[in-house]
Structures are given as structure tokens and as C-alpha cells.
Amino acid sequence: MKSYILPQYLVERDDYRCIRCEVCARQCAFDVHWYDEEEDAVFADESKCVGCLRCVTLCPTNALVVRHNPTQIPPNANWTGEVLRNIYRQAETGGVLLTGMGCDKGYPIYWDRIVLDASQVTNPSIDPLREPMELRTYLGAKPDVVKVGRKGGKPSLETRLTPQLRLETPIMFSAISYGAISYNACESLARAATEMGTYYNTGEGGLHRNLYKYGDHTICQVASGRFGVHADYLEVAAALEIKIGQGAKPGIGGHLPGEKVSAEISRTRMIPKGTDAISPAPHHDIYSIEDLAQLIYALKEATHWEKPVSVKIAAVHNSAAIASGIVRAGADIVALDGIRGGTGAAPTMIRDNVGIPIELALAAVDTRLREEGIRNRASVVVAGGIRNSSDVIKAIALGADAVYIGTAALVAMGCHVCQKCYTGKCNWGIATQDPYLSKRLNPDVGTRRLVNLLTGWSHEIMEMLGGMGINAIESLRGNRLRLRGVGLTQEELDILGIKHAGA
């Protein structure tokens, strides 16, 4: 069938600059570029271009420009180029539209309508370059009261704490499975988390044997498919996370298509090579909060009560009530993933239309847990569109204990958010299992880039804290008075629990 889909991008090559090195042709897994010997020229099939900019970035002479195809249908606010493209694609295949990464629709980003406070005159600001500044964060249940006694003349804690995760900076790497991303990408995340004293999350794809040595900085996920979940996996983890939902696709399960289940993936997930890895939409042992409690305690029991257990949900309309149930069910950490959260593959309509922005969910959950007097019983971690250090610090002031970053971490490793992760042809060596592509991401370089990102963000957070006259992130947690809204309605301000700027 002839495709009616217009190329989304134009590839423009400056023939004068082009030295026919064929780098672009070799780099593009979508086969856009080719060199024609007879004509001694390089050509492009633009219909295949996904806009990942790998060729543009690597072209040694800056001969390439990739830009949006300006040929569009007559301007129309309803029947946009994207709407038509989707309809043509479905008319030509009869399939469910698939996409990768997070929702790209223009829902309000509340982080950009919230501003931070700073000290002026009274309560002097602090210079983190000279004075101590603490970002250390402990995740886990905190006791209702703390009893301090004395042992040998020294104060000592009498209250027995439940297991905690210690983070040197309140930023962790989100759950991304081996399968969704390459081994090299997983290794980069694991090593960077270890170096920075924080954690990464295996996602639901099990843990590759070679990465067990980073177990102290690994959160192992237990999802509905239970892939790769066995005694060693539970034992090696620093914490366990029950994945109920994910911001990019609340309410639905996932399929890792059989063609991505390579020998190594099959070993890690413990399923035969080439079969679809199907994660059912719900956990079939969890149909209620009581059932959730049962799995939480099953995991605690299986790991001798030595590890915190997190429960991750997608941010949806009644997240606050659900979070309350999760805390009461015995979770040590509640992880919330907002509508902008990324994915390796999700049906487009679900990614773009289901769930709520993380800012509103976070505020609602934190408020609810406080009102019920159970906020101390679990830490709150948020994910789904955290783009920079100011998003982090605003999240913490809104009530989060820490954040998860997924997309930002992949971007640090080279991702250009082309949203084609589900094809398995990621030219940046990230969302692929093709050895030719994945070796483009050198784990040494990936680790360095991630460590640099977290280092930069951590410094910025310290600067902003210092500016507010605060010397520990703990003092900002849930301190919404240090936030103001700009251009928000009263309803939005009420949900966020913040005042408008100027008030």
C-alpha cells in the first residue's frame, strides 16, 4: 500500500562541505543516508528520518541540517499534521500507535510556573562553597517518636529504625529495564549511581549478572511479570520496588516484543529467547490494598526485613487516597510517576492522555499524608519530567523526599528524545539491543556524563538552598512557603498549597 505519510523531517546536506566520508550512512540505523559511487554524492531518504540527530552530531564538516518538514497540510487547529499522520499510519497498518519517551503534549508544566524564594537582609544567605551544606537524604519509614539515650557517656539512638536508603544527593535514576535499554546504558547508570552515592532502578527486566556488584546501589523492581525475580535478585538489592504503574502508561501492562529478547535478555529475564515478555496490567496477586500489603510483607519476609520496600504508582486522579493506602499497607517508600514520565514503548494515546502532572499529584499526596498524620511512615519519591536542578528543588519543597530521573539521564548519555525507542534502533546506543548500535555508548563515557550531570545539579541545589539561607535539604522538605506560583489560578494554587507571587 502506498504510504500517504509525508516525511516528518527534511535532511539538508551542504554538498560543498560534504567530504563523502559516509559517517552519516554508517551511523543511521534507519538507513536514511547512502553514498552513490557513480554520482559521487550522498543522498537521503527523508521518509525514514526520525530526527535523532546522530548524523548531524557526528558529521565532521557540519554539512548536515535536519529540520521539520515545512510542507504541511493547510493550517488547521484540529486536523494537524500529526493527527493526519497518525490516521494514515493506522489506515495503512490497522495497528495500535506506539511511541517512546514521555508525553509531548503541551499540558502545563507547573515547575515553570513556580518560583523559589531567596534570603534578603534578614536571615542571611549561605555560601555553599565555604560553608557545609547537606544534601544527604534517607529514604524509608521514620518513627513517630525518636528516643535518645546514653551509652558510655555518648548519646545513642534507642529507637530501632527500619531499613533506610542513604542518598548523598536526592536524585536517583528511574526504573529502566534491561531490554528497554542496552547493557551499556544499564552499566552506566549502575556505576554512576555507585559513584555518586545514590541508586538506580532495574525496572522490570531483572538484573544482569555482571551488575550484581553494584547491588548496594540498586533498587530491584518486582513487577507484574516477575521477570528475573528470584532469590539472588531479591538478596542483592539495596531496596525492592513493587511496580504497580508507570506515568507513561498508567493502567496497562507492557510487552517486550520477542525480537528484543536476545540471549542475554533471556538469561536476565529468565524466559526463553524470542518470546514476548508480557507484563500483565495488574499484578494478579494484588486486587486490593490488603493484597498489596501481602506482597509488601512477602518481600520483606523473603529478604529478612533488611530492605525498604517501595511501591511505585502512576499519578492518577485519586493518587492521594491510593498513596494513603500504600503507606498503610506498609510501604517504606511511595514512588509517584507523572504523566510526562518516559517509557521504552507505550501506546501513544495512553501516553498522551492518561494520568496527571506530577506536580499536582505530589502536592495532593503530601498534603493527604500529612493530614492523616502518616507522612513520616513513608518517603515520597517523584518522577516524570524532572528536567533540571530547579525542578528537583521545587519538588522537594513541595513535599518530595527525592526524585527519580529517567529521560534526563538518558539525555545525558546522548539521547535526543526522538521518541523512537520502541523500534530498538536507537542510533545513540541506548534503547537498543543491537550490538553494533549499543557499543556506541561506552559505559566509561556514559558513567562520566551521568556523574557530571548529578554533580552539576547537586551544586546548583546547594546554591539555591544557600540562597534561601538553608544549609540542609532536610529543612526545605515540604516547606511550601519557599515557593510562589506565577500565573496560576486559585484552584491550582490551592492544590499546590502555595501562594501566588507577591502574596
Binding site: L98, H230, P257, P280, H284, E301, T423
Partner: protein
């Protein structure tokens, strides 16, 4: 069955210990206390652990990685043997929901019936249930290389048997009924993409999920399942030959890629 509290059993806790064997009176112990004792005994190297007066304590056998033998006198709670890796558990009465949840290796033998989601996500080991089970048995059971889980159910099962099944072997013997058993369950093998289910008797097309295919079990199939049937009759009595000779059907996945064509790439 009437369950009687054994008032003579004394206080909960360990009450006997002799050459490699320990007896624990579970009684009203919280599961955490009970399991701590069981784990402690296993860690000490004791090989046989008898639990008396068990009253619904959950997670028995979970978190133990040695091939200890645990005998449960009474009714264990949900998630018996969840994430289990090695022990052998015998229950002398019924079991509840979640028997062998995400179990990795070991054996569970239940002298009675079991509740819902028996063998959910089970990846290795064996489970034998003398009587019937509830809903969603063997859901998302899977296999990997030499780890092939086996679930043998003596009686009947409810709906969604083998849903999402990705591997392993399930036998439903349908014993205890005269003539050819006729399973009432629906949605059998929905989303099935691996593994095998053998049912004694017949099912009708509408009872199967659309991903499951059915055919009469061959001689080779029967030989393949024979050792498991024999193991069942060893535990619970009956004649393996008689059972095997009375007509089995085999359910298998039409494809190991059930959702291959679903998406528009």
C-alpha cells in the same frame, strides 16, 4: 472439615528438638515470629521442621534457601512458599491463596485443596495439590532452560487457569468424579504463550482463551507426564495407570508471540 484447637499443645514456640529435627507450636504466633523461628532452625542446619497448630500464618517457607523439610499441621496462610528457593513443604490440610507465588525451586505438597493464584509466576520446583484449586492457577507461570515448574492439581480448577502462561507444565487430573470429568472453568489459557496444560476429560472451545490451542494428548505426551502423575499417586494414593489411561487433552500456546501484530510501527 472442623478445625480444632489443640489446647494441650501448650504455649506457642519451640517445644521439641531432637537429632536434626525441630517441632514448633505455631498456635497464635504472628507469622513474623513463626517464620523467624523456622528460618533460624534452617540456618542452624536442622533438616526437618514440624509446625503444629498452624493457624493461617503467611509466607511459610519464604526466604529460606536450603532444602529443609517443613511439615505444616494445620492451615497455612496466604503466600505459602512465596519466592521460595529450595525447601520442601508438606501441608496436611488445605492451603489458602498464593501457594508457591513466584517460587523458584523446592516442592509443596498439599493434602487438601488450595485457593486462588496457585503457582503464580512460578519458575521452578513442583506443587502437588490433592484436591481442587481456585481461580487463576498457574497464571504467568514460566520456564527457563532447566527450570521447568510443575503444578499437579488432583481435582478441578476455576476460571483463568494458565492465563498468560509462558512456560511450565500443569496437570489437572479431575479426580473424584465419576466418568469423564468436565471442567466448568472458562478463559483457560487466555494470553498463553508458552508451557503445556494437560486436562483429564474434555473442554469446549468456548472455555478456552483464543491464544490456546487444544489437541488430544499423544502417547509420548502421556509418557512425559507419567512421572508427575506417579509422584501424585505416591503422595495421595490412586493408580497412575488408571489415571493416565482415561483420556487427556493437551493445551498449548498457538504462538509464543501473541501480540506480535498488534502495533503500528
Amino acid at each position: 472439615m472442623k478445625i480444632e484447637v489443640d489446647h494441650h499443645a501448650g504455649l506457642p514456640g519451640v517445644f521439641a528438638r531432637e537429632n536434626g529435627k525441630v517441632r514448633i507450636n505455631a498456635g497464635t504466633l504472628h507469622y513474623r515470629e513463626l517464620n523467624n523461628m523456622v528460618k533460624g532452625a534452617a540456618a542452624e542446619g536442622l533438616e526437618e521442621i514440624e509446625l503444629e497448630n498452624v493457624f493461617g500464618q503467611r509466607y511459610i517457607g519464604s526466604g529460606i534457601r536450603r532444602p529443609v523439610r517443613i511439615t505444616v499441621h494445620g492451615v497455612p496462610g496466604n503466600d505459602l512458599g512465596a519466592f521460595m528457593d529450595g525447601p520442601r513443604i508438606t501441608v496436611d490440610r488445605n492451603a489458602q491463596d498464593g501457594v508457591g507465588n513466584t517460587m523458584n525451586s523446592g516442592t509443596i505438597v498439599v493434602h487438601g485443596r488450595a485457593g486462588d493464584i496457585v503457582a503464580m509466576g512460578m519458575r521452578g520446583g513442583k506443587i502437588f495439590i490433592r484436591d481442587g484449586v481456585g481461580y487463576r492457577a498457574a497464571i504467568h507461570m514460566k520456564e527457563y532452560r532447566k527450570h521447568v515448574p510443575v503444578l499437579v492439581i488432583g481435582g478441578e480448577t476455576q476460571d483463568f487457569l494458565g492465563e498468560y502462561m509462558a512456560g511450565g507444565l500443569v496437570l489437572v487430573l479431575g479426580l473424584g468424579k465419576k466418568g469423564k470429568p468436565k471442567l466448568a472453568a472458562r478463559h483457560i489459557g487466555t494470553g498463553m504463550h508458552g508451557g503445556l496444560i494437560f486436562l483429564r476429560g474434555e473442554v469446549e472451545e468456548h472455555q478456552l482463551g483464543k491464544e490456546a490451542a487444544v489437541e488430544r494428548a499423544s502417547e509420548a505426551d502421556l509418557e512425559m507426564i507419567r512421572p508427575h502423575v506417579e509422584e501424585y499417586t505416591n503422595y495421595f494414593g490412586g493408580k497412575a495407570d488408571e489415571i493416565l489411561g482415561s483420556g487427556f487433552i493437551k493445551l498449548y500456546a498457538k504462538s509464543h508471540r501473541p501480540f506480535g501484530g498488534l502495533y503500528a510501527y
